[in-house]
Structure formats: C-alpha cells, structure tokens
Symmetry: C2
Subunit: 390 residues, 2 copies
DNA sequence: GTGAAAGCGCTAACAT
DNA sequence: ATGTTAGCGCTTTCAC
C-alpha cells in the first residue's frame, strides 16, 4: 500500500498541474490532444492507478454498487442469481465500478443487520435481485439511491426493474404447442402473488384467446400454494381427474413441470405422446428428467448486465425515470413437448432460437448408451458433470 | 448522499474535538468512559456513520478484502464456493470489512483483466478460493498483500491456506467401513495433481496400513484423468474385472462415487449389499442417487470464516506467519455404505409419492426456495434426510 | 486549455 | 485523557 505513484508524481513528471492530470483521468473534453497523450504516456510509464478512496472522498461517489440478495437465493443449487450477479460484475468493470454483494434475510427485522454500505454511503446505487420482502424495498428506498430490481417487481412501488419477458415466453409456449397441433392446452400454476407467475398465467390466457383456443377451467390449475415439484404434481393430478383431458400442459415453471411429468408417469401416461409438458426457466434439473424438458430460457448474465447499465445511467445522468426492462427469452425445445416426435419425425420449426443449443451443455451424466439421441435445437453440447475437483 | 452528519458535527454537538470522536470510533483505549458514552450518544442521536472513503484515505486501509474465484467455480451448480464466500462475507461484517468478489479465468493471460482492486489499492488482503492457475497466485503475490487460499494449496509457495481435513476425512471413511466389517476396501481416484485428491489417497493408504488392512493393487484405481462421474465409472469397471473383488469402494469424491454406483448397477450389483460405496464432499447430487451416498461433509461457511479471520489477523497485527488451517470434516452416513442398512435391515424408500421427491427444492427464483441443507451427521450414525417436506 | 487553491471527511502524530 | 494540526490523494471551482 506504499510508495506507489500518486497523481502528483504524474503531474510532476509530465510537467503539468494536478488538475490537468485529473481532467485526463476523468476523460474530460477540455484537454488538448497533445497534453492528453503526454499524461497518458507518463501514467503508463509510472504504472499509475488512481486510488479509490481518494477519488471517492473528493468526488462524493463511492464507485460501488450494492447488490442485495436473500441468502436462500444466493446459496441455492440452481445458479440463477449467481449468474445474474456475474453479469452485473462483468458489466461493472467496464464502468470501473465495484459490486458489493450482500445477503439479507427475507424481511427486515429490527434486530437485523442493515447492509452497511447503505449506512456508510459506500454505494452509489443498489440492485436487488429476486423476490424479497417489501420491508426491505421500502427500507432501502429511503436512502434515495438509484435502485433497480432484477427478476422481481412491485407494482405499487413504481421502481425500475429488469425482468424476463414472462409474457413473451408464455406466448412462445402456447404458439409452439399450437403449431404442434395442440388445441387442448392446460395450465399449471400457483402462488399468483409472484408477479412472474401471474404474468405467465395471464399471458397464457390472453394468447390462448388470441389464437382462438378455448380455455377449459378443469385444465387450468393455479391454486397451488407454491410452485414447486409437489405443487405441479398435485395440480396435474386434478387435471387428470377431469373427464376430458388436455393434450398439453404449460407449467408456470420447470419445478412444477417436473412435478407434472412425475404424476403423468405414475399414472401410466407417456410424455410427450399422451401429454406434452412445457416448463419455464430452464433450470438444470430440466435436463435430468425424462423426457428432458422443453422450457423457456433467459440469459441470466444479460439481466445482471442490463440492471447495471440502468443503474449507471441513473448515477451518471441523474436520470431517474422509472424503466421496466424486459430481458428477452427464448424457447428451448427438448423432448417433453412432443413436437418433434421420433415416431413421426417432424422437423423443428425454424422460429426457435438457435441459441437454445447453448444450454444443452448443462447436460449431466455421461452417455453410456442409455440416452437416446438428443432432440434439441442447435448444436449438441459438451457434457458437464457435477463438481469433480471443484 | 448529502447533508449527512460528519465527524465534525458529532464533535461539535458533543463539545469535544475531532480526534476524541475518532478515538471512540476506532475503539481505542485512551478515552474516559464518560467521554465515550457522550460521544456514542451523540452518534446515535445524529445517526452518524463514518464515511468509507474518508476513512480509507486517511488510514491507508481500504476496508475491503478481495475474494478471487475462477468463473467456472462460481457458477457451478454445486453451491460450494458461494457458501464459502457467504461465510467470508458474514464474518467480514463483524470486522466492518467488505468483500469484493471477482471472478477470473483459470490462468492469467496478457490480455486478461487484472482484478482492479489490486491495481487501485482497494483491498487490504486477498482470498483465493479453489484451484486456480499458478500464474494467478504468483501474480497476486507480487502485490505483497496478505493472502490466504481456501480449498487449495501450493506446496512450493508457502502460503497460508484453509483446507478441509482431507486426511482426517479419509480416515473416517476407512474406519467406518472397517467397523462395518469391511476389510477388502478399494479406492477410486484420479488427477492426483490436485492436492486434496492426493491427500485423500495417501491418507487412505496410511489408514489401511495402520489398521492392518491389506491393499490390493487391483482395487486401487487412481490413474483416471479427472475425478468426474465418468472417471469413477471407468475406474469401477476396472476393479470389477479383477478376479477377487473388494466389498467396499472409497471414491476420492462424490462425483466419482456416483460413477461407481452407476457402473455397479449396470453390472447388476446391488449397492450397498454387494458393494458399499463412500464418497467425499457431500455434494447435493449425492442425495439424488440411489442409494443415497455416504460421504464426508465439511462446513463450507466455516472455511470462508476461518480464512477471513486469518486475513484480518494478518492485516491488524502485521502477522505474516504462514498458517495451514484445517477445517474439520464429518462423516455423513446414508445408505450407500451399507452399514446402517445392514444393522437395521430396512429397505430404502425412494419414491416420490412417499418422500415428496428428491428434487423437491429445485424451485428457483420464486417460491419459498428454502433449502435447509441441514447435515445432521456424525459417526454416531444419525440418518440424514434430504430437505423435503413430507 | 491549463494552473492554483480549497476542500472532501477522516486518522494520526504530536502537544497539552 | 483530550485538543491541535497536518495531511491522505484526489476532484473541482475559479482564475488566467
């Protein structure tokens, strides 16, 4: 931490004043090209880097962004939020910003620790990722810092957010099934309080109607308490009880879809031949069910990136307009939707993103011949196994 | 970011000087109790918090620790390093330190980005977690910052490290199998360049000898290129080719153990009845194989904690003695080792309808997502149930 | 376009 | 035990 060159050294060696060097450092316009060159040369020669805290103190900006995550989200096996964080971090480098990651309990309690970066004015903006207690959002708002939510939103708070295009995704699913010949499509959901689930559900209904497909109440089960495997299983059971059955199920997320598949298998039904199933989220487990799950994918890193860019805009331009950013989604076609059945050898329609194949590399396990040829979009993937040498 | 009270305001309101307030802030001894009380009261009243950058500039300490992780480690599904990071972060709060998480490629390339916190003197110490290119270690060493490795070590670099007790773990495994009546124990490994794998292997040999158990060369397969499922599968195949077969296999990690189990099942052998299998690491996937895997667990958060404490010692006391810290491990007994099953002679229930499914907690993003990774353990033999509700 | 000077909010000698 | 006084390394008016 010692003996490293300071801006003073640069100024002296360049035969210029501190302020001129500072202007160059901050990429201001009013510096002659010649001067700029000279300063840059000296900086390079000396291996100079401006020191963070000094900068922060003088500029009133910390150069940090706070990234808040509930602990359960951070440590869950599905690396959803870690990837979002990674996207944010990578993007932040371009702005020479740091991301301070902190986890919190779901809701603020009196006794709880408040992220210190708020109290110490150590961040210029805050990103909150994932569903979190309203109390946290309200608490953090009071600091009057630029704030962006990722993968979550609260209608009544009018905050900027980056969420995946849930509506678009639901539309992709319905259209895909429809094109595949399905007209009797059911929906399985739960926890409609969650904005993402609610949007998927609403968009499902809208798209069905827009395509002239009729909705059957018995095929739509959205009253489950949660959106986990068990809930999907239970919802599927109810649907199977109806006299007339749908030929395809759209599950509000992959966990529920997996539950549906289990239920169908237990009932002796074959997926996708007797019933097609499509999920949402593209979690890794979707690759391990049989048949592998057709689902909707979103580029997680991109979401983190978008949020960071938005925050930086707010910081740099005092631009506090509330924006709702939609991260594009794509359909990942695997076996569970039954469009390309091996029996009939149908082709996969062109409308599907080629990038879907990228996610195949999540494939787990190794081919010992047990798995039939992949029916997937894009190139075959590299195999990937759980942590070996970590 | 404005109008917040400064140390000046506190001093004025308390009728004291700046330095006295500063002394209180920094918990120095030479302040009368009365004065301290008064200052603390005013601080509370004003809601004052010292500002990070100002502190940093004056004290020459950034108040940050750099946490370096290779990107593949960070985003892998097994939340091993995220939990270590979490442990570090939680512990850092106690010291009022921030942890700057950054990911890097495996090895330093000329074109690569160097973690900026090094260049900007924005950290007081660095933690590197997981196996990483030597070039990185060498590069970072040059900054002369306190440095601690987690879950990795490089013999010739004489660095402080926190690693799990690999030798102790291997001993636990051998002793457990031995006590269960096994005397013919095989070992499956690979990539002996990895210090953890090498230690497990060496300790396996040592313990076997110490217990008077003979080693059969045909039962020890450590030449696989890697330590993944596939490698375990191949190694197991070789062992099964030997005329005389062991009754138990100790795999160098869980991935390999899973490979062993697959191979055994394909060969029509029953685990644990025909062959017991024990792994190492306690990865989640070990809960989803059938039978569920007996393994060695380490408290990940604790490892992160220990490293942070060590770094703080180095920073605060200029204590640069090199220390090797062992994080304690524990045996997690499940069905694959056959000990418990034999004793109690019960079947292994493993159906969705009864247990709620192994993937019950895969729900991501939304939903409750609580994954109680409770590892109830001990050679005491407590049965460990996967996180699932009913 | 460049320089001089005044801080930013804190810590750390050094006095008292 | 408390106060005085310099800075820490940078940004930012404001002159010129």
């Amino acid at each position: 931490m010692n003996g490293r060159p300071t801006i003073k050294d640069v100024a002296r060696k360049a035969g210029l004043s501190l302020s001129t060097v500072s202007l160059v450092l901050n990429k201001r316009e009013n510096v002659s090209d010649e001067t700029r060159r000279k300063v840059l040369d000296v900086i390079n020669e000396l291996g100079y880097y401006p020191q963070r805290s000094a900068r922060g103190l003088a500029s009133k900006l910390s150069g940090n962004i706070g990234f808040v995550l509930t602990d359960d989200h951070f440590t869950q096996a599905e690396p959803f939020y870690t990837k979002i964080f990674l996207g944010t971090e990578l993007e932040a480098r371009k702005y020479n910003y740091y991301v301070l990651l902190t986890t919190v309990a779901r809701t603020v309690k009196e006794t709880d620790e408040i992220p210190r970066f708020l109290l110490e004015q150590n961040v210029d903006g805050v990103i909150i990722a994932g569903r979190i207690g309203l109390s946290w959002i309200e608490y953090i708002r009071r600091f009057k810092l630029p704030l962006v939510l990722i993968d979550y939103d609260v209608a009544r708070h009018n905050l900027s957010s980056v969420v995946m295009d849930n509506r678009g995704g639901a539309q992709l699913v319905v259209d895909h099934l429809h094109k595949g010949g399905h007209t009797k499509i059911g929906f399985v959901g739960g926890d409609l309080d969650h904005p993402s689930i609610a949007e998927r559900y609403l968009s499902f209904r809208e798209t069905m109607q827009a395509r002239g497909l009729s909705l059957n109440g018995a095929w739509v089960q959205v009253d489950e308490a949660d959106t986990r495997i068990r809930d999907g299983y239970e919802a599927m059971k109810k649907i199977l009880n109806s006299a007339d059955r749908p030929t395809a199920i759209f599950a509000a997320n992959d966990a529920m879809a997996i539950g549906c598949i289990r239920c169908l298998k237990e009932s002796g039904l074959r997926v996708p031949y007797d019933m097609a199933v499509v999920g949402f989220d593209n979690i890794e487990a979707g690759l391990y069910v049989e048949p592998r799950l057709t689902t909707i994918n979103v580029h997680r890193e991109e979401m983190g990136e978008l949020a960071l860019r938005r925050i930086m805009e707010m910081i740099n331009h005092q631009n506090n307009v509330v924006t709702k950013t939609l991260a594009p989604v794509e359909l990942v076609v695997r076996e569970s939707c039954g469009i390309k059945t091996q029996e009939h050898g149908h082709q996969i329609p062109h409308t599907f993103s080629k990038q879907g194949g990228n996610h195949e590399d999540l494939a787990h396990g190794f081919g010992t011949g047990s798995r039939s040829a992949d029916v997937s979009v894009g190139s075959g993937g590299t195999e990937h196994e759980p942590a070996s040498e970590r």
